[in-house]
């Protein structure tokens, strides 16, 4: 049975709780980036993706690539909540000898499709996966989550050019547009981003990246008749869901203390 929008919102809340717990326990940064994409990841794993946790290697499965690898606690949490692994595995996050680094390693969990960490890699890999589906006559879809800061990378636009030229209608990029790179606002250098994607031959849809209904509708839509690859420009807030973290760049760096965690959970726990 398909998850309702309320189910997705509840899953996103659970993801946020785990993101904060993991970062606190392991004393790691990038909390704001993971909170920023929690609703998108929840919508993908609880509604949009055709996946089965019991057969994570099924060749027909949809593929999700987290190109902004530093947001991986959201992905780890989603995979655990969705049943790809036992949630105790999350305790291995950023621990000596553990399976889960601060950027996803190849096959570090069932359901991890690709390692990332250096920005600007995921879109070309997604294009290659979409091409493999076309060549092999498979109908899986490919979703790639980028950050807006990642769009500084020339390789993103190289891949965007290629995907459009190949008419990869089964490829969807989602840009987590929280307006921050690691050290500054992205808009002055990168805007107009939606117009850039459009001029590269992509079908562009702008949405509220924290609204489950809007996310699901945008991601589940069929490609247009021209088979243009699609980009969902998801307007988001870095640190979303925790009032004192929202739109504060500090939480790109600062691990949550015990006190921070307590205050954050008080806002998130139902």
């Amino acid at each position: 049975m398909a998850a309702t929008y309320a189910d997705i919102a509840a899953a996103a809340r659970q993801i946020r709780i785990r993101v904060l717990e993991m970062a606190h326990a392991a004393h790691t940064p990038h909390v704001g980036s993971a909170l920023s994409c929690a609703d998108i990841v929840a919508a993908l794993y609880f509604r949009v993706l055709r996946i089965d946790p019991r057969s994570p290697g099924d060749e027909h499965r949809d593929r999700f690539l987290l190109s902004k690898g530093h947001g991986c606690t959201a992905l780890y949490a989603a995979l655990a909540l969705r049943g790809f692994c036992d949630s105790t595995v999350l305790e291995e996050y950023a621990r000596d000898g553990g399976r889960l680094p601060e950027h996803p390693a190849p096959h570090c969990l069932p359901g991890i499709e690709f390692a990332s960490g250096s920005l600007g890699h995921g879109l070309a890999v997604g294009a290659g996966l979409a091409l493999s589906a076309r060549l092999r006559g498979l109908d899986f879809r490919v979703f790639v989550l980028l950050s807006d800061g990642e769009c500084y990378e020339g390789s993103v636009w190289e891949a965007a050019t290629f995907a459009a030229s190949q008419k990869l209608g089964s490829l969807t990029a989602i840009m987590d547009f929280n307006q921050w790179s690691a050290s500054s606002r992205t808009a002055p250098a990168l805007e107009p981003l939606a117009a850039k994607w459009k001029s590269f031959g992509w079908a562009v849809k702008e949405i509220d990246g924290h609204d489950p209904r809007a996310i699901v509708r945008a991601l589940a839509a069929k490609p247009d008749a021209r088979q243009r690859p699609r980009v969902i420009v998801a307007h988001t807030v870095k640190g979303k869901g925790v009032s004192f973290m929202e739109d504060e760049l500090e939480w790109h760096y600062r691990p949550p203390s015990a006190d921070d965690l307590e205050r954050a959970l008080a806002e998130l726990l139902p």
Partner: protein, 318 residues
Amino acid sequence: MRNAFVAALSELARADDRVVFLTADLGFKIFDQFKLEFGARFMDLGVAEATMIGTAAGLALGGMRPFVYSIAPFATLRCLEQIRDDLCYHSLPVTIVGVGGGYSYGHNGATHHALEDIAIMRALPNMTVVCPGDPVETAAAVRASLGLRGPMYLRLGRAGEPRVHANADRFRIGEAITVVDGADCSIVATGAILSVALEAAAILRAAGIGCRVLSMHTVKPLDTRALELCAADGRLLVTIEEHSSIGGLGGAVAEWLAASRLAFPLLSLNAGDSFAQSTGSQQYHRADRGLTAEQVSARILAVLENSTPCCSRNPSQS
């Protein structure tokens, strides 16, 4: 070598429909027939090497066996991080074909010379590095690449390299081929300069010096058993490559030698550590770096005449 590559690739693509070929705007005309025959399994990505590697990674994740193609420095350096993260980290079976090893693109200038590629590719975990010595080894390497579980860098010359082997029967990735035997010294060559090594050995033989020549087509993994056989009697071992003095075949052999308990004199012949200072053909640059057959034979002769015959490095015998 280039034609041998295209022919072998076509044969492979006929036999295995997972084979796809990606080029970054290189190979004018030489892939026309391949394109005609294999349609969508030929892709020209335009001048976009990073995307070519990333796309190949995605294709391999999706069950295909991609070959990617460009001029050697562009195929390795421009997209180095994609090669490391997307291919090597995931150990994906993608063959990176770099055409124009060494000074093959002589007059094109130093941007087109490939003199650091072996060093950089062999430093990457999971990467296999193969530099065929002639068209026969090229075709054999293409066929053998399908048996690998990870990425391979295939460093080709360009066109017109002389054929050395009658057939590919003895070709195995990771196993050097003894082309001629000789008792006084060994020359271990990688890549298209193999033919120079053979000519140098012939000159030495005419001077009464027996010279074994090995084609060390695979630089990683290095065939240390073959090297041990060469070194067993403590005689001179010469490495020759059209590559920088840093980290190529000579570097690999030196690393192995330093860690081994063997003692033998090692002469590393290479292109040094500098960009070309003037324009010139491949032959011009080889001569500039002391890599013609006459120069190579003379340099080997000089070492043989000036060194004590055996094990001069071994403290137990000094």
